[in-house]
Amino acid sequence: MIVRLQREDFDIGAEIARLSQGRTDVGAVASFTGICRGGDIAAMTLEHYPGMAEAEIERHVAEAETRWPLLGVTVIHRYGRLVPGDNIVLVATASQHREAAFAAAEFLMDYLKTRAPFWKKEERAGGDGWVEARQSDAAAAERWSGRRPEAAE
């Protein structure tokens, strides 16, 4: 498991390659990259709770590892000021088969959105403002409650 919080950008290709480097048991790597979207925002600043953010992500990776047969997980989340086009977050999961890799990546992103202590403040033409939590994100995380891989369709 690799969990990193950092100001700096990350190399998506290198991080994905790392999950299968030097081994032949990995048959699938799934990844999700969250990117700072433009439109009406000039920039955003990500605040986090140092110590808890790492711990919370590690708890969810450990939970994902009990649910799916994973061979590697990498989660990198940036903080500080980001501008449109910047990477925000990377979740990459490795497994023997795609189902576990896809599902675990989605599970981790859903939980990151609602449980990892990060807050986004956007810089807009009309002034700065904190992003409000979306009910759809809470619902996305909720659907994993009590759900186990063997019970999945």
Binding site: G34, L46, E47, H48, Y49, G51, M52, A53, A55, E56, H77, I88, V89, M109, L112, K113, T114, R115, A116, P117, F118, W119, K120, K121, W130, V131, E132, A133, D137
Partner: protein
């Protein structure tokens, strides 16, 4: 104990953290919020809608009815918007 605030809770209170001596009658996270609300305008503003405020004790999410006994660090913050 140490209290830590994040995002707009921090901005409304006007400080990122503080050490407080909490009266013995304050037993739960919910009690602590009510006690903080009475500490001044900035606290009343930060906790005006207490139902949306999230809390963590020693870096674990907790509910309002969680006891605060033994806590070293209690954090208050809005719903999270990472990812």
């Amino acid at each position: 104990m140490k209290l830590i605030y994040f995002a707009w809770v921090r901005e409304r209170i006007g400080k990122p953290d503080e050490e407080v001596d909490v009266p013995a009658s304050v037993r739960t996270v919910g009690d602590l919020v009510a006690w903080l609300q009475g500490r001044g305008e900035e606290y009343a503003y930060a906790f005006e809608n207490a139902a949306v405020i999230r809390a963590a004790i020693d870096r674990n999410h907790v509910k309002p009815d969680t006891a605060i006994a033994g806590a070293r660090e209690i954090a208050f913050f809005p719903p999270m918007t990472g990812g």
